[in-house]
């Protein structure tokens, strides 16, 4: 056991190899960086040197070319110096004067001293040399050839470097052919040779080096046959000029490369066989090649220095890195060792603890190899399964599993392998065949690289049984709780510091809670969230819940929860301090019914007592069992004197009480009524019918009272007739009033008949009158007009101006009278004419009327606006007349304005039924003082010569409006326009 369970340990450490690898990696990187830096430096220095060589060469070439140009310039001056040439020509012909010879000497001296020409040779045109006094004759065969060429080409020639064979002098010659020029022709005189000593200037120019250098030099060469010839003396070879040659096969030498035609940078060995870097360039217009060179050693001197520096720094860096990493590794290793030591100590302690735990554990612990064969088991396992240890170690996980659960084993193992460990339940079997439910905690573990399954098993038989019992009980109670009809809520009360309940939280509630209260998903919520404001509306509820939560004494109460507007019957108890359970039922309906019943009773009572009628109820036997106070008043008895008696008994009682009675005279009638009362009761008891009749009661003072009586059965819940009831109204006054009305009505009808006859007569008379007016009043007027016209037509020659004027007055008055009659008739017709009712489109009428009224003449002077007008109901032609008169007036009375503004509209008051139409103008208006005269017949507020008219128009309008049940009025101010308003009763139907 110790062997297996204590070997769970991890071994690991750092090898120094990794360390070396890191150091090498760092070193290589540093070396690479160093090399990269060095090679970059070399490249830079080389490029620098090359560009130096190139630029110095180019400078030299420029200087040489300029020098050559200057020399040719000297020659050109001589070539053009005709005086000198004349002198020379004369000298050649031996004709020269002394002065001329002096001139030549003077020029020669100047040339020699000032320039680098050391000798001048003269040849005539026959190539014969003329010697200057004292001059020796030399061999000038080279020069002669060039002179011939120069004369032929008539051009100056600049010779290459030449050497005087015997004298060993190096020179360059400038050959100048000379000509004498006059107006007619040019004649050759001969040629001059100016000899230049390169030692004097040219060699210095070539050889000088502008910077400080030990080995740099420039040199000129030219190709000559199969070798190159050095043209100047060299830095390291004094006698090289035109003397030193190198054959063309020595290609490593830059001069040879130049001779072969190469131009540019070249690395090779020089004439000393020393390694050099050189720049080669041809000089245009010459056979010369310029070479600038420097020794490699001189170039590599700074490079070597750089290499040394870089190498040194690299080595130092590599060393530093190596030392640093080593130190880091060392300290890490030390720390790890310390940790390992501590872990080892801890592990030892744990192992001990673990072994103890395993052996004395209450759980079964098994260990199996990867084939699920049991390789180890603890004491508890041996006890529980009933196998000996040897037997158990020969079993596998398959054997201890109950046969019906074995199929699942492989899937369990797979899950454990995937997750590393898992807990599940299964059924195991003991040696004696007894099965038990087991909770398995299976883990994969690795012991010294091998895979094992560690199985911790617990017999959960008891737990299962207990759980099952609990579940059953829980189910039972939950069902009860959920299904009971009462609402249930389990809550925690929240108190403030003074132990006053502030709020409570619903911890649980059943279905009925939701059904009864309509509150959903209350669990976990505060009541203040569920029913906001309940704390303020229902402090009583909080008080009771708070009290029970604190005291633990249950309470049962009924309460109206204002916030919900519901009545509750609540039993509340506290299972734990500050917690409470409320079991409740909603009793709103019952409570409401109670209240309604009480209200109904009160209403009924008040009704019965206050109604101006006497009410009674009789039982089956016909005895009074209830009477109201009015009934008692009527009988002048107290209630208890009446109750329990039949009407007959009551009558006898009354009679006895009256002692002798006052009703002797009318006793028959009275008796009859009383007998009727008993008969009615019996009839109702038998048939259940309702009886309604009028009863007559003679009064002690001799008058008679009339009662309207209704009698009906009293029916029990079972539908049985259990008595009768009745109500008696005193209708004596009504009876009297009715009689009076009947009498008055008959009188009234007579009167109306008479009136109608009068009215009809009057109407007929009026019609006859109108007809007569219409017909007869006009005839005389026509005669007046007609004959006055005839008078004017036929007798104008006999009438003077005044006579004619008077005739015209007759005519105009006749016409006016005619108009008056027409208007008056129209007015009277309105009164008599029947009104036909139809709906009227006011907008259409107004527009039509306006179109009729305007003429082209006044059209542009009127600004006419119509607001939308509601339609109306009335007589179409009459309404047209109203609008015609009103709009006509508006046009007429605003005609004096430069622009007439007329507006027609409608105002709506209260509702659509009350509509006021109006016509507004900006005319002369009128004084409101005379407003009452506006609508009178023949009433005019303006003089005739101001505005025409008979004064009937508005009277007609008013009459029409009145006939339509409406009203008309006007508002105005003098000179500020007028507004006429009218309304009509739209829905009035008049036959």
């Amino acid at each position: 056991m110790k062997h297996f369970f204590s070997s769970l340990n991890f071994k690991w450490g750092k090898t120094p190899g990794v360390l070396f690898l890191i150091i090498i990696l760092f070193s290589v990187s540093i070396l690479f960086l160093g090399y990269f830096y060095y090679s970059n430096q070399v490249k830079v220095i080389k490029e620098q040197k090359q560009s130096e060589l190139t630029s110095i060469s180019k400078l030299k070439i420029n200087q040489i070319l300029r020098w050559k140009k200057e020399r040719l310039g000297d020659a050109a001056i001589i070539y053009n110096n005709q005086d000198l040439i004349k002198n020379i020509a004369n000298w050649f012909n031996n004709k020269s004067s002394l002065e001329e010879r002096k001139n030549i000497s003077l020029w020669e001296n100047t040339l020699k001293t000032t320039y680098e020409y050391y000798n001048i040779i003269y040849f005539d045109k026959d190539y014969k040399q003329h010697l200057r006094p004292g001059e020796k004759k030399s061999d000038y065969s080279q020069v002669l050839e060039m002179g011939k060429k120069a004369i032929q080409s008539k051009n100056m020639i600049f010779s290459d470097f030449l050497i005087q064979e015997n004298e060993n002098i190096i020179h360059l010659d400038l050959i100048i052919p000379i000509y004498l020029k006059n107006d007619k022709d040019i004649s050759n005189v001969g040629f001059l040779v100016l000899q230049i000593d390169p030692q004097l200037y040219l060699y210095d120019l070539i050889q000088s080096w502008p910077t400080n250098s030990k080995t740099s030099e420039t040199l000129l060469i030219r190709k000559e046959g199969d070798s190159v010839l050095f043209l100047n003396k060299l830095r390291f070879k004094e006698d090289a000029a035109l003397n030193f040659k190198i054959p063309l096969d020595k290609q490593e030498i830059p001069a040879v490369q130049g001779g072969l035609g190469y131009e540019g940078i070249f690395e090779g060995v020089d004439y000393r066989n020393v390694k050099t870097l050189s720049y080669i360039k041809r000089i245009d217009g010459t056979t010369w090649i310029m070479i600038a060179k420097v020794d490699r050693d001189e170039i590599y001197e700074p490079i070597k220095e750089k290499a040394l520096q870089t190498g040194l720094i690299t080595v130092i860096l590599v060393l530093l890195v190596a030392v640093g990493i080593y130190a880091l590794w060392k300290s890490q290793k030390l720390e790890n060792l310390n940790k390992l030591r501590a872990a080892e100590l801890e592990r030892l302690a744990l192992t001990k603890h673990y072994e103890y735990l395993v052996n004395y554990a209450n759980d079964i612990i098994l260990l199996a190899d990867e084939n699920l064969n049991i390789v180890e088991a603890n004491e508890r396992a041996i006890q529980h399964y009933g196998y000996s240890k040897e037997e158990l170690l020969n079993k596998s996980f398959w054997d201890i599993r109950s046969p019906e659960e074995r199929a699942l084993l492989l899937s369990h193992i797979e899950q454990v392998e995937a997750a590393g460990g898992q807990i599940f339940e299964t059924i195991h079997i003991k040696k004696d065949g007894i099965k038990f439910p087991a909770e398995i905690n299976l883990h994969v573990i690795s012991i010294e690289g091998k895979k094992y399954f560690q199985d911790i098993i617990r017999d959960i038989t008891e737990r299962k049984a207990a759980l099952f019992a609990l579940e059953q009980s829980e189910k039972h109670f939950h069902s009860l709780f959920e299904n009971m009809l009462n609402g249930y809520a389990y809550c925690k009360m929240i108190f403030n510091d003074n132990n006053d309940p502030q709020d409570f939280i619903y911890l649980d509630a059943n279905k009925s809670f939701e059904r009864l209260t309509g509150l959903k998903e209350v669990k976990g919520k505060k009541v203040s969230e569920v029913i906001p404001g309940i704390r303020q509306t229902d402090p009583g509820l909080f008080e009771r819940y708070g009290r029970v939560s604190l005291s633990g004494i249950p309470e049962v109460f009924e309460i109206n929860v204002e916030a919900l507007n519901m009545w509750f019957s609540i039993s509340v108890y506290s299972p734990l301090k500050e917690y409470f359970v409320a079991v409740f039922d909603v009793i709103t309906e019952r409570k409401n019914a109670d209240i309604a019943l009480r209200a109904s009773e009160a209403l009924y009572h008040s009704l019965v007592e206050n109604i101006p009628a006497s009410i009674f109820r009789k039982n089956r036997e016909g005895c009074y069992e209830f009477v109201n106070s009015r009934f008692c008043q009527l009988k002048d008895l107290k209630e208890d004197e009446i109750i329990g008696k039949t009407p007959i008994e009551l009558s006898e009682y009354e009679a006895a009480k009256e002692a002798g009675g006052k009703f002797q005279s009318e006793s028959g009638l009275r008796q009859q009524t009383i007998v009727h009362g008993s008969e009615h009761h019996e009839l109702i008891m038998k048939t259940g019918q309702h009886i309604e009749l009028e009863e007559v009661y003679p009064q002690p003072d001799g008058t008679i009272k009339y009662y309207h009586v209704i009698k009906a059965p009293i029916i029990s819940h079972a539908g049985e007739i259990i008595g009768s009831q009745g109500i008696q109204f005193d209708v004596t006054d009504r009876k009297m009033a009715q009689r009076e009305i009947e009498k008055l009505n008959s009188e009234l009808e007579d009167r109306i008949k008479q009136r109608t006859i009068q009215l009809e007569t009057s109407n007929k008379e009026l019609e006859a009158f109108s007809y007569s007016v219409s017909h007869d009043l006009r005839a005389p007027l026509r005669a007046l007009d007609g004959f006055a016209k005839i008078l004017l037509e036929d007798y104008s020659h006999k009438l003077d101006a005044e006579g004619q004027r008077l005739c015209n007055i007759i005519i105009s008055n006749a016409k006016k009278m005619g108009q008056l009659i027409d208007d008056l008739l129209a007015f009277s017709r309105i009164g008599r004419q029947g009104i036909s009712q139809s709906s009227i489109d006011m907008n259409a009428i107004v527009n039509e009327v306006f179109q009729e009224l305007i003429t082209d003449k006044i059209k542009d002077q009127i600004e006419f606006t119509v607001q939308p007008l509601p339609e109306s109901y009335g007589d179409l032609s009459m309404m047209r007349q109203v609008w015609r008169n009103l709009i006509g007036n508006a046009i007429k009375f605003s005609s004096t304005r430069s622009k007439s503004i007329i507006e027609v509209g409608a105002l709506s008051y209260d509702d659509e039924k009350n509509i006021v139409y109006y016509v507004r103008d900006n005319g002369v208006g009128f004084n409101m003082q005379y407003a009452d005269k506006l609508f009178g017949v023949f009433q005019r507020l303006h003089r005739v010569n101001e505005f025409e008219g008979t004064g009937v128009g508005l009277a007609i309008v008013q009459r029409i409006i009145h006939r339509h049940g409406g009203q008309i009025w006007a508002e105005s101010e003098e000179n500020k326009g007028a507004t006429f308003y009218f309304n009509i009763n739209r829905l009035r139907s008049e036959s």
């Binding site: 219409s774 026509r782 007009d785 007609g786």
Partner: protein
């Protein structure tokens, strides 16, 4: 007035007011309608004329007037009654009847048209207009209208 004259009546004017008669005649004359005009001044006489009674018993029924100008308000028998009689008679109803009256009462107009009047003219007070109305009446009924043969 002899029977001869009565037989060649073109226009029969039935009008009781002598002023109106004079004005009407003058109007006709003024517009150059010079046809033979006969004037009757009461309703009863008019009926005698049409139905050849009394002094008109000898009138030749073949020469009926071309147009009748009728006032409504007449002594004894009023215009509407005359109109009813005329339009109720098979022989007379083709004679055009023009009502020329002072009345502009709607009941008169409606009644006249119901009875079959050919034209209804309200006498204007203005003489000029009166002449105009008579002129149009004469032109239309005498010159333009084509009576059935």
């Amino acid at each position: 007035m002899n029977t001869e004259e009565l037989n060649i009546v073109d226009i029969l004017l039935i009008e009781d007011n002598p002023n109106d008669v004079e004005l009407t005649l003058r109007a006709l004359k003024k517009v150059n309608i010079l046809n033979k005009i006969h004037v009757l001044s009461d309703g009863a006489e008019a009926l005698d004329f049409f139905f050849r009674k009394g002094k008109y018993s000898n009138r030749n029924s073949k020469n009926e007037p071309k147009v009748i100008i009728l006032d409504l308000k007449l002594p004894k028998v009023n215009g509407l009654e005359i109109l009813r009689n005329l339009k109720g008679d098979e022989n007379l109803k083709t004679i055009p009847v023009v009502v020329l009256t002072s009345s502009r009462e709607e009941q008169d107009v409606v009644e006249s048209y119901k009875l079959g009047v050919n034209s209804y003219i309200v006498k204007p007070v203005d003489f000029e207009k009166f002449i105009e109305a008579v002129k149009e009446l004469g032109f239309y009924w005498l010159l333009l209208n084509q009576p059935p043969k």
